[in-house]
Amino acid sequence: MKDELPAIAMISDFFHPNVGGVENHIFMLSANLIHRGHKVIVITHSHPPDRVGVRWLLPGLKVYYIPFPTIASSATLPNYFTFLPYFRVIIAREHIHLIHAHASLSSLGQEAILHAHHLGVRTVFTDHSLFGFEDAASILTNKLLAAALKNVDAVICVSHTGRENTVLRGQLFEKSEDASALVVRPNVYVIPNALVAEQFTPSTEPVSSETIYIVVLSRLAYRKGIDLLVATAPRICSAFPNVKFIVGGDGPKLNDLLQVRERHLLQDRIELLGPVRHRDVRDVLVRGSIFLNTSLTESFGIAILEAACAGLYVVSTRVGGVPEILPQDMISFARPEEDDLFRALSEAVAIVSKGQHDPVEAHQRVKNFYNWADVAERTEVVYDAVIKSEQRDLWMRMQRTMELGPFAGPIYTIILVVDCLFFLFLEWLMPRHDLDFVQMHWEHRNFVQVR
C-alpha cells in the first residue's frame, strides 16, 4: 500500500528561511504529507551565503536550494532553460512522481510545470494570491500564468474567491462537450489554508477592560491597505480615549504611520513594534482584544484566522476570500473606505467593552474549523485524481499552447519545443544511467534506532 503513494516535489521561490503565508503553507502541507507516508522534497532558490545546497528540515523534509539569483521580493527571474538541468537531475534522482508548484509569482514553479511533462511527471499548482487585470504588470504576469497553467494537471486555490480570480487570470476554461459555452475546467479545486490552533491559544489572564487594544499585524504595504489605517486610526483615537493601537510589521508604508503618529501626537496611543517573528505573533495578539485587517486584497487571510483563534474580535475589510473564512458572528466587516471602517471599529469597540465576545469560546470554535491533517487529506485526493488522469503527449501540449493567442501562442510553443530539444540534449549529455539515484529516504524511526 505504501509503495503506491506518490513522491512529491514542492517547488516555489518562497520557502524557509523566508517567512510568510506561502512559506508556512508549503512547510505545513509537506510535514503533514510526510506524516501520511508520502515522500516529499522541496525545491527553492538559494539564500547565499549560508542557505545553499541540500538541507534537511524536521520532520524529514529534504530541501534543494538551487543557486539562482533573486530579483525582487525573493522571486527569481524567469530562467526557463537554465532551471531544466537542475530540475531533471533532482526529479530523476529522487524518483518524483508529481510536482506541486506554489504561488503565481514564482517563476521557478511555473518553469517546473513546463519541464515536468518531459519527464512524465504530473503537475499540480497552488495559487495563493489575488491579482487585478488592468495594470501592465498584471497583464504580463497573467499571460505567463495562463501559459504555465495551459498544461497543468490540477490547480488548487485557497478560497472560492481566489478560484474565481485564478480561473479568469489563468483562463482555466474550455469548451463544453456540445461546444456551445465555456465551462471551467473540472480540475480546479478549493482547499483552504489551515492553522495550528495550539500555537494560538488565548491568554489565560483576562484582558483589562479599561484600555482596549487594537492589534494590526501586517506587512505595511499598499496592498494591505495601510492608507486606510493611517486615515482611520487618528479618528478612532479621538473618538475613544480608552483605545490604543499596537501595530506590528515592516514595509514601505511605515513612514506614513510614523508621520500620522507625529502629526496627531499619538506616540502613547499607537505603538509600532517593527517586524514581528512568527513565533512571537501569538504573544503580540493576546495583548489586544480587537484585530484589525485593512487589506485591499486578500486571498485567504491567515492572519485573521490566527487572530480569531487567539480569541480576538476581528474587524476586516470585505475583500477577497475574507468573508468565507469565518462565520459572520466572529467578524465585523467594513467596506474598504474610511467612514465605514470607522463605523465597524466603533461597533467592535462597543461589543468588546460590553464583554460580549468570549475569547475562549472563539478559540474552541476556530479550532474545529481548520486543521492541516484535513488539508493534507484533501490535497491527497487531488494528487490521486491527477495520477489517475490521462497524461497529455507533446503534440497535444503544443496544440493547447497554441490556443493561448495569435502572439503568445507561437512564442510559448517555441519555448516548449526548444525546451523539449534541450531536454533531449541533456539526456544525451548526462544519460540517466549515470546519475546517482537516491536509494533511501530519511526515516526518523531508523535514525532513532541507530542512535
Binding site: 487585478g132 478560497s159 474567491t161 479545486y189 478549493v190 482547499i191 486606510l228 486615515a231 485591499l296 484533501r378
Partner: protein
C-alpha cells in the same frame, strides 16, 4: 447531493468535492466595464488640437529654416517678427491668466482694482523679472550665435538632417499635450522638459547650416519662442472658450501649410495628411476601438480605485 446546500464558506466541511463549482454563485459578483464612460467623437477632436498645434509649430519652424538657408528670407525680418510675437504672446498670456483668476476665484475686489494700479502692481511683481530674464536670454543667444554656428559645422549635412529629424520626432512624442491645468507651483514633468530640450538641440544642430551669425541668432531665438514659450501659452489657452481654441488651431495649421506649399508640394501633401490623420482619423479610430474594451473587476478582487480616491481626498 443537491446544489442548494452549498455555501460559499471555507470553515464548514461541505458534502461536495473540492472541485465542485456552484452554477449560480460562481463569478456572480463580477462586473464588466464598471464606471465606463465611452468617448464621443467631437470632444476627442477638440482634445487632439494641442497635438495638431504642436505639429504645426514644427512645420512652421522647418519652413522658416529652409527659407533662411536659401536666403529667401531676411534674418532681420524674422528677428522683428520674433520680438513682436514675443510681446504679443506675453500680453495674451497675462490677459488669459488675469481673466482666469477673475473667473476662477470669485472675489469681487480684484475686479474693482483700477487698471493703472494693476499695471504698476504687475510691473513690480513679475513684469520686471520677466523683462530682465528675457533680455538675458536675448543677449546670451546673441553672444553665443557665432559659437552655435560653428558647433556642428564639421558634421556632414546628411547626419544633420537625420539627427534633427530624430530630435523633432522625440520632441513631438514627449511634448506635454495634457489639458489639465498644472498646479501653480508644480514642477514641469520630466518628459516635457526633455521634449523642449530635443527641439532646441535640433534647432542648434540645424543652425550650423545657415550662412551667417545673424541668421543663426534669429533662428535660435525663433526656436526658443516656438518650443519653450509657445507650449506655456498653449497650456494657458486651454481655459479659453472652444471657439478660440479651434480658430487658433486652424490659423496655425493654415499658416504652416501656406509656408510649406511653395517649398515642396509633396512634403505639403504629406503634412496635410498627417494633420488630418491626427485631428480627425485618430479620434475616430479610438472611438471605434472602444468596443473591444473589456475591463473585468469584482469588488472582492482588487480595490485600487478606492485607494486612488482616498489619496485624492487627503
Amino acid at each position: 447531493m443537491s446544489s442548494t446546500g452549498w455555501k460559499k464558506v471555507l470553515w464548514e466541511t461541505q458534502p461536495f468535492p473540492d472541485n465542485y463549482i456552484h452554477p449560480h454563485s460562481f463569478l456572480s459578483s463580477l462586473r464588466r466595464n464598471p464606471n465606463f464612460k465611452p468617448y464621443t467623437y467631437w470632444p476627442l477632436v477638440l482634445l487632439s488640437c494641442p497635438i495638431t498645434q504642436h505639429l504645426a509649430t514644427i512645420f512652421t519652424f522647418l519652413a522658416v529654416f529652409v527659407r533662411l538657408k536659401e536666403r529667401w528670407l531676411d534674418a532681420r525680418v524674422l528677428l522683428w517678427v520674433s520680438i513682436i510675437s514675443f510681446f504679443g504672446g506675453y500680453a495674451l498670456c497675462e490677459i488669459l491668466s488675469y481673466s482666469n483668476t477673475v473667473n476662477g476665484v470669485p472675489s469681487r475686489q480684484t475686479s474693482c482694482i483700477a487698471i493703472p494700479e494693476l499695471f504698476t502692481d504687475w510691473l513690480h511683481q513679475s513684469g520686471s523679472k520677466t523683462i530682465k530674464s528675457s533680455l538675458l536670454v536675448f543677449l546670451a543667444l546673441m553672444g553665443l550665435s557665432p559659437v552655435l554656428r560653428t558647433l556642428t559645422a564639421a558634421t556632414s549635412s546628411d547626419s544633420i538632417w537625420a539627427l534633427s529629424a530624430c530630435l523633432f520626432l522625440l520632441n513631438a512624442l514627449l511634448a506635454d499635450y495634457s489639458t489639465l491645468k498644472p498646479a501653480p507651483h508644480s514642477q514641469e514633468r520630466l518628459t516635457s522638459v526633455l521634449s523642449m530640450n530635443a527641439a532646441i538641440s535640433s534647432s542648434v544642430v540645424l543652425a550650423s547650416r545657415l550662412p551667417d551669425d545673424l541668421a543663426v541668432f534669429s533662428l535660435v531665438l525663433f526656436a526658443v519662442q516656438l518650443f519653450a514659450l509657445f507650449p506655456i501659452m498653449r497650456h494657458r489657452l486651454q481655459v479659453a472658450p472652444q471657439v478660440v481654441q479651434i480658430l487658433f488651431t486652424l490659423t496655425l495649421c493654415v499658416v504652416s501649410f501656406v509656408l510649406t506649399v511653395p517649398l515642396s508640394i509633396s512634403v505639403a501633401s504629406i503634412y496635410a495628411g498627417i494633420l488630418i490623420a491626427v485631428t480627425f482619423v485618430a479620434p475616430g479610430v479610438l472611438v471605434w476601438a472602444q468596443k473591444y474594451k473589456k475591463q473585468v473587476t469584482s469588488p472582492s478582487f482588487f480595490l485600487a480605485y478606492l485607494l486612488t480616491r482616498l489619496s485624492a481626498v487627503r
